[in-house]
């Protein structure tokens, strides 16, 4: 109770002191506002980036492995990868037959072609040769997917992406119509739902055809990607080991040689992204920290002035019974009030900054409650850290000297 009375009085004293020097307080606030708004702005931007990136990654599936000749992340030895033996249907069939920890094994092979419907044509459409199994999450909005029979019998059927349907057919129902790919006629059996884009690359401008048909039209010497969905994401490493074993056997890799294929995963992309962005974040956090440091030094400076100016007041207070802790709190609260107000205004500015950047640039911004905690936490920490020295200096003043200070 007594403590509360004292703290309340000390808060009133601190507010009174700030009111008496409004301009000085406002200028000191500025430093903290700049620091906190930088931290918040950067935090909400990086959060936004991470979120957007994470969403795109997870839309591709984190429990899917992509077996290819090339590694996604290791670009140093391009030669090494190029000279590897191509992946073929032999590997696909071996995986389908022997792998036990996988749910889906689906080969795919891609090329870009012009697609024609009547007099309309669409350039640079991704033609994917694949089978009836799928690892992705896109389902037909109209019609049906490729079936096992379509694939086995190499039927001239196709499933088209949302954008292909939109651009070639408009409002018309494409199912049952025929389109031409590289001069060959395909019957449309389904239209995929809209998938949007990943990293600026649309997923909807695609036509899927049976893989056998693809080989017949475009030749066998293409890079196959084998997409594998694992049965249980917790057994990801075991599944990789199993796949590695099967592929080494099928491809006849001697035990003393390293793999002549790569097992790629979205996590690798995520890791790469984190590696690239963490340096950027560190730099940004550094800028924020320096601003806060400057703001904190401003607080310390102004508090030292305040203590010197009020030496006599401190003497009077001590003479009538103020203890060290009373004086300490009085000044510590003063610096906390400055930094706290600066922090709150800074949070507002920081959010504004994030929103403005999000509005005028493609960078997204996410405002999180953590930002608020961060802002208040940082500003209070600055207030305490830079306020404690002036406050303890005031608290240690000798009352006799303080009373006679001119």
């Amino acid at each position: 109770m007594r403590f509360l009375i004292e703290i309340w009085e000390e808060l009133k004293i601190a507010l009174g002191a700030l009111r008496a020097h409004k301009l000085r307080a406002a200028l000191t606030l500025l430093g903290i506002i700049v620091g906190v708004s930088t931290v918040i702005g950067i935090h909400s931007l990086t959060k936004g980036l991470d979120k957007a990136f994470g969403e795109q990654i997870s839309s591709l599936g984190s429990d899917v492995l992509y077996i290819q000749k090339f590694s996604w992340v290791d670009r140093e030895g391009w030669e090494k990868y190029r000279n590897r033996k191509d992946l073929t249907m032999k590997e696909v069939n071996a995986l389908k037959k022997y792998a036990t920890l996988t749910k889906v094994v689906s080969p795919s092979v891609r090329t870009q072609q012009t697609v024609k419907y009547g007099r309309k044509s669409l350039e640079r459409v991704t033609i994917t040769g694949t089978d009836e199994e799928k690892t992705g999450s896109a389902f037909p909005e109209f019609g049906r997917d490729l079936s096992a029979l379509d694939v086995a019998n190499r039927r001239d059927v196709c499933v088209i992406g949302w954008e292909v349907a939109d651009k070639l057919f408009g409002d018309k129902d494409p199912v049952g119509e025929r389109i031409k790919i590289a001069g060959y006629s395909f019957k449309i059996i389904g239209v995929l739902e809209k998938q949007g884009s990943v990293f600026g690359h649309t997923l909807d401008q695609e036509v899927r055809i049976p893989i056998g048909v693809f080989f017949k039209l475009f030749g066998r010497h293409r890079w196959i990607t084998i997409a594998v969905k694992v049965e249980n994401p917790e057994l990801m490493e075991e599944a990789k080991d199993e796949i590695r074993g099967i592929l080494r056997r099928v491809r006849g890799v001697p035990p003393d040689k390293e793999d002549d294929f790569s097992i790629n995963q979205m996590d690798l992309i995520m890791d790469l992204y984190k590696r690239l962005t963490s340096a950027l974040y560190a730099a940004a956090v550094g800028v924020g920290a320096i601003s806060l440091l400057v703001g904190g030094i401003g607080i310390m400076n102004i508090m030292l002035v305040s203590v010197t100016e009020r030496t006599r007041e401190i003497g009077i207070r001590k003479a009538v019974g103020a203890k060290r802790r009373n004086i300490l709190w009085q000044f510590l609260i003063e610096s906390l009030v400055i930094s706290g107000i600066g922090g709150l205004i800074g949070i507002g500015f920081g959010f504004g900054l994030g929103e403005i950047i999000a509005a005028i640039s493609p960078l997204p911004a996410t405002v999180s409650p953590l930002s608020i905690v961060l802002g208040i936490g940082f500003s209070s920490a600055v207030g305490i850290f830079f306020g404690i020295y002036p406050a303890s200096k005031a608290a240690r003043l000798n009352p006799i000297n303080a009373l006679h200070y001119e």
Partner: protein, 225 residues
Amino acid sequence: MLIDLKNIVKDYQVGLEAVHALRNVDLSIDKGEYVAVMGPSGSGKSTLMNILGCLDTPTSGIYALNKINVSTMNDDELAEIRNREIGFVFQTFNLLPRATALHNVELPLIYNGTPASQRREMAEKALEKVGLKDRMHHRPNELSGGQRQRVAIARALVNTPSIILADEPTGNLDTRTGDEIMEIFESIHDEGNTIIMVTHEEYIAEHSDRIVRLRDGMIERDEAA
């Protein structure tokens, strides 16, 4: 016995030189006494006041205040004793410039945790005693010198301390205003308060019952006024 000083020594180090401000001072003051402390500058009267007021501790010797030995207390313990036992009146008033008379008088009560409503009541009563109730919302710069010193006296009285310690309380006032202040001291003495007053003016000292004269850090004479 309210105050009992035994063999009080206070030494200062000024540069390389040791200054003996007080040399083996013995002094006893009873409750209800009105004592004037006199002496030329450098006689040690300020040092004695600081020790009596618990603003400082002696180098050696024992100071018993209300039978409690305060000579070895630390800063915070002394602050509590000052708050409870001592009311200061200074030559330069020493009021908080931005605070109203009422708030200045409330100050000692803030530091002993008196609740706000009770604080105000006690402060108003103290201001009434010095005849300043109608000025309680004024700040020091809106008050005359005499009025400021009365606020200071009210502040000294508000906590009903054991001793009122006044250090040249009329030093910054004209004679007529000084006389008014001395009248107030007399009336609070009549109510049973113990007053110790440092002065170098004989006619001020004559208001007291007992005059203690210091010279070179020692008590030269201690006699009834």
